[in-house]
């Protein structure tokens, strides 16, 4: 039974991927990609990785789909140029063979992985009580491999600043992204008023529950960001200009809190990013809260893009 389910899912994922690559227009390709992300989220549930399923659904399919969709709308035309640059059949065949070899080598490598598989599961579980959290993924992200997560949070700040810095000089200081007119009525306005209250609760819930069950800052932050984007595109919320100090502190609050707590570890525990067992959980929750805010802010800004309006 489960084998059948896996087979269906696996074939569907590959099928949607092929369709996404093969379809000629951009718009359906992006729709195909969102479907691909949804199916992958189901695959992750089948693999028992619910945390990843949440991330894939929120970030992989949701947020990535939205920025791709926005990009499609703004990138119209160029068909002749694209056709001219299309590689000939011989090049395509060569590329196909090369990629096939890579795929085949990967398949062989995966099938010959050692049995029983090496695993850190026991070690991860053994030390969880010292951290006061029950979700092993959170333990890995916040403690054992905390440096990865810290650097990754910093990568988001990099991305925001890098995106902003692509703007023309004269736009610096302006509001990021296009400015949408206020939708006073219509379905968009209705949804933008109804959904965010629910979404904000869900987002905070997902971030909060992450300590003990699947969820966490990245997933929760993404949902909060989605609600912010909804209010923004409906014209109900104006993004602050890129010069806004408050906005920038919101983006860096998470990583800074992470570093701050990490440095406290030098004084109160054994080194950077080490938590005293007695207050490990409150500290982790503090970082997670700040990070949720920063992830949400960074994602909204990454979707909005470089400043486009006039200077504030």
């Amino acid at each position: 039974m489960t084998l059948l389910l896996d087979l269906i899912l696996g074939l569907a994922v590959v099928g949607v991927a092929v369709w996404t690559l093969a379809v000629r227009e951009n718009f359906p390709a992006v729709i195909g990609f969102v479907a691909y992300g949804l199916l992958l989220a189901l695959v992750w549930v089948r693999l028992g990785a619910v945390d990843v399923a949440l991330t894939e659904a929120a970030l992989g399919a949701g947020a990535t789909g939205v920025i791709l969709l926005f990009a499609v709308v703004r990138l119209r035309g160029g068909r002749a140029e694209i056709d001219a640059a299309t590689p000939g059949p011989r090049q395509r065949l060569a590329a196909g063979i090369l990629c096939g070899v890579v795929g085949l080598a990967l398949a062989v490598a995966v099938l010959s992985l050692p049995d029983p598989a090496p695993s850190q599961a026991a070690a991860v579980a053994r030390h969880l009580p010292e951290l006061g959290v029950a979700n092993p993924i959170t333990g890995v992200l916040m403690a054992y491999r905390g440096l990865d997560t810290l650097l990754e949070a910093v990568v988001l700040v990099f991305a925001v600043l890098a995106i902003w810095s692509m703007a023309p000089d004269r736009r610096w200081g302006a509001v990021p992204g296009p400015v949408f007119p206020v939708q006073s009525n219509g379905p968009l306005s209705l949804l933008a008023r109804l959904l965010p209250p629910i979404g904000i609760v869900v987002g905070i819930y997902i971030a909060w529950v992450g300590a003990d069950a699947p969820g966490g800052k990245f997933q929760g932050g993404t949902i909060l960001a989605a609600m912010g984007i909804l209010a923004w595109v409906a014209g109900l919320w104006r993004l602050p200009p890129v010069a806004s100090r408050g906005l920038r502190w919101a983006v860096v609050a998470g990583p800074l809190a992470f570093i701050g707590v990490g440095l406290l570890g030098f004084v109160f525990a054994d080194g950077f990013l080490s938590y005293p067992p007695a207050i490990a959980k409150p500290l982790i929750l503090l970082i997670e809260a700040a990070m949720t805010l920063s992830v949400a802010a960074a994602l909204v800004l990454m979707v909005a893009g470089p400043p486009e309006g006039r200077r504030a």
Binding site: L5, V50, L54, A57, A213, L230
Partner: protein, 87 residues
């Protein structure tokens, strides 16, 4: 019981996939958006069944997130279809 629920999940998924195949072919952009929406709904159904069958923690939350973002995706689509009529 669990087996039956998983079977139902598989059937829902198959149905959603069949719809996906039809709807992705278009021809109108709205048809394609329907495809993603359909798969989203099917996914939510399948996830809830899997959650009931296996009792895995957090699977219901995945369905919840899909439901929220599904609504959100249709907004993005409406905007995109209108051409981001911003400025």
């Amino acid at each position: 019981m669990a087996e039956a629920l998983l079977l139902a999940a598989g059937l829902i998924l198959l149905a959603a996939l069949a719809g996906l195949y039809r709807a992705l072919r278009g021809p109108a952009a709205a048809d394609r958006m329907m495809a993603a929406q359909l798969l989203c709904s099917g996914g939510i159904g399948a996830l809830l069944l899997v959650a009931a069958a296996t009792g895995m923690a957090g699977v219901v939350d995945v369905a919840l997130v899909l439901a929220l973002l599904g609504a959100f995706a249709s907004v993005a689509f409406v905007l995109a279809a209108r051409g981001l009529s911003g400025r």
